[in-house]
Structures are given as C-alpha cells and as structure tokens.
Point group: D2
C-alpha cells in the first residue's frame, strides 16, 4: 500500500497502461473519491438518442476504481464484486460526469457510490453502488 499522493494525471497515465480501452478523463481525485468525465459518441448511444446503460455502468465502475486507486494507491488486481445501478433520468448525448464517493475502504472490500450526470441536466441521471474486492497486500503493485 503506497502513500496516496497520486494525482489525476498519474492515475490517468497508469490506466492508459494497464487498461487501454479506458476513455474517460479524470478531473479530480482525493482520498474520499474521484470525478471522471466522458464525452459520448455514436458508439455510446441507443435508439432514441439516449446514452446506453452499459456506457453509464462502465463509467461508474471506472470512477469507483479510480477512487480506490486514489485511496490506497496502485492496485491493479482490485475487482468489482457487486454493482447496483438505478437509472432514473434519460441522459442526453454530450458529456457525462461521474462523481464517486468512498463509503468504506476496508482491508478486503471497498464500498462506494457514484452519481452520474449528463450535460445540460442539473440533477443526476443514475445512481450506482459498487463493491470492489481488494487483493491481499502481496498482490499490490509496487
């Protein structure tokens, strides 16, 4: 477990390396959470012009992963064990924003929630709770 002084750009570079499909921008990160943004394109849309559910879930999952990294440092092998999402407003094409908050950073499990926002809509469009399983210290990177 490293000291947590990772900056958004450090985590961004780390993710580009281990997780090449990662296409969001980290705009904030601290011990309690992280904020990510994702400009949506054609590949994220559904019939009717709404952003697809999997796009929202993937962004929320990434935001929680970044929040975990921000809290405990680089842990490549943390894996999602549970994700629960409520979709309650229709997201519009345009930028998405995910605000992840850590509720508990345990030795074995990290629990947090994520609010998702869609450009042009003041209130959140979806809420996600996520649990990550943290590997034993021996498996931590560096």
């Amino acid at each position: 477990m490293t000291d947590t002084t990772l900056t958004p750009s450090q985590v961004q570079a780390y993710l580009a390396e281990i997780f090449p499909q990662f296409d969001a921008t980290i705009t904030h990160i601290d011990r309690n959470g992280a904020v990510l943004e994702l400009p949506t394109g054609e590949q994220h849309l559904r019939p009717g012009g709404t952003v697809s559910g999997p796009t929202l879930m993937a962004l929320a999952d990434a935001a929680m992963y970044v929040a975990v990294l921000g809290n405990i440092g680089k842990v490549a092998l943390a894996v999602t064990t549970n994700l629960n999402i409520n979709f309650y407003r229709k997201p519009e094409p345009g930028k998405l924003r995910a605000e992840a908050r850590i509720l508990k950073m345990g030795a074995r499990l990290a629990v947090g929630d994520v609010l998702l926002y869609s450009e042009g809509i003041d209130q959140s469009v979806a809420h996600v709770t996520i649990t990550y399983s943290i590997p034993p210290p021996a498996k931590a990177v560096e």
Copy 2:
C-alpha cells in the same frame, strides 16, 4: 397529491395511525429527504451485540417512505419495489440514525438512498438504495 407542508409531527401522527409497528422518531423532513432515529433494544440485536440487518433495512425503508411522504404528501399505498443494502461497518447498540435523500421523484417511481449511522461511530455503517412505486393519483389519500 397534497401540497407538501407536512411537518415531522404530522407525518409521525399519520404513521402511528396507518402503520402501528412504526417505532422510529422523525427528526427532520423536507422535499429532498428525511432523517429518522431509532433507539435499539434487545429485540434489535444479534449474537455478538451488533444490530441486526433487518433492523437496519426496516429503518432505511421507513426513512425513504417518510421522505416520499415529505415530497408528495400522504400516499398510503406507495410500495417498495427494490431495496439494495451494503453493510460495511458494525453498528453498535444505541441509537441509529437514517438520512434519506430523494434522487428522483417521478410520477411512477421514487428513487432515493439512505445512509445509516450508529451512535458513537462518525462514519456511516450501511448504505441503502430504495425504489418506491407510486400509485396512480386516484389512489392518493385525501
């Protein structure tokens, strides 16, 4: 659907009438949420002295119901359709506090989340997301 100027004591009295087992105290209520407190007793405890999961779930469910009443007025027939809870710290005997927040108050569904706190522990012990199904207006009370 009545104008929402219900006070904690009005909702408390209403719940005492329609839902006699309700044993929590409403300490705050507004259009965006509600706060409830519950002093735990022997009947709420589990082996090891922790508060039982069902006690936490029941309190969270009640807090969201109160928050819905606070937002749309007396709706006796609103029913829970989904509840997801993560338990991540061990609650201690003593007072529990539930802080419910409405994320979306729709015509058919209300979505919110609840943070649960245990006396003597600064951070939350559990997080709950809840969806209520709202009956068509004809079924609203008064």
Copy 3:
C-alpha cells in the same frame, strides 16, 4: 470448517442457541441451498394486510445463512455484506417459504439468491440476492 453433514434439525438447534429471535422452520438443507418456512402473524403485517418488506428480507437473509451453514458447517461470524431485493407480487398473510440457492461458495465471500413464496400464490413474490462475508478459518466455530 466441519464436514457438511448438518441436518435441518441440527442447524435449527444451533440457531436457537446463537440467534434466539430466529422464528423460521428449516425444512430442507443441502450443500447447494436451503428451504425455510415462516408462519406470519400480526407482527409481520402491514396496513392492507400484506406481509411487511422487513419480514421478507429477514427470512431471505436467514435462508441464505442456513444455506451457508449447510455448505461449510457452523460459522457463527459470517455476516451479510450485500442484500438486494425485488418485491413484485403482494404476499398474503399465511405461510412464507424461502428457497435459497448458493451460486458461489468462496473462501471469502458466499453469493446466493433466494426466491420467496407466499401461501396460495404459485409464483414467487420476491427475489433476493445476498452476499455473505466468510471469516478467516481461525474464527470458525468448533
């Protein structure tokens, strides 16, 4: 971790000891799951004569706990970390039945789901997924 040859009556007796509020009857138990029944009374009902959500959640949680005991033997300290319930039919007063199925029995986490049935209704009334955290072997009982 004991060999798993626990019978319903052994688990019933064990639960009566460690968990005195337990009021359900175990009718079946094997390595893959368990079945519990609960006769509902006034204390389980809500306005309108339906069975309360917390009653369903408590029964499902107990059924999953029994299934875990059936699989790995007596583990007093297993704790629920996540519970997600969908309520989709109105349960009637009368006997409830919970059918728990283990989906994964891991070293650290057990995952399963539970279907809840209400006397007189053929189809299930609610579905629950539950994760239990399993304590390290040193904490196992006996």
Copy 4:
C-alpha cells in the same frame, strides 16, 4: 402488444434494426426467458485476460430485454430502471452465455434475473437481476 409468437430470428432481425450495436446471438426465446450467446473479442477483455464487467452487464441487459420481447412482443421503449450484478467467478476469453428468466411480467415493471456462463466453466460466473419499465400500451410498437 402483439401475440407472442416471436422466434429467435424475428427478434434478432428486429434488434439489428433498432439497436445496431447488438452483437449477441439469440439461441432461445420463450414466454419465460431467453438465452443469448456472445463470442468475446479483444474489445471485451481486461488486463489479465478476463472479460470486462461492462461486457457482462451489457449482455445480461440485452438478454433480459430479449426475454421481455419474447413475453410481450415488440416494445422498443422498454427501459432498464435497475440492474444489480454480482461477479463471483473469473470469466475466460471465449463464448459467453446468458440465461434470462422472467420472474414477473407486470403492466408497468418486468423483473427477471440472468445467469452468465463462460465457455469452459460449468458453474455460472455472475448473477444479475434486472427491472425494466414497460411503457403504457399506446407507446408499444406496431
């Protein structure tokens, strides 16, 4: 709402039209559920060679949508309101299979669950519960 005699190939053709990114194959469909298969490629993998969580979530969501279509006929505007997933075994590269089961087909909400399987692993790798909101009849297609 059409009579439900849709075949896998009819639903496959319908989805190709309204939802061009749909890349799974429908192998079975009836009033109670549906089975879909997805061959995974590089774009579905994560560091370490496992299939990404969003791939699993997207496949489960599609399987439930197909099951809803199989039950009530073509309803383009049904939307996911809640999805809860537990990931408990590591899926391998290769074909994924999703088995969706309808638990409740209501007038307003459809609830079901999905078991996900990974080629070469007998037991399921993830379990998903999903709620779809069904639009009022006027919005049904055809």
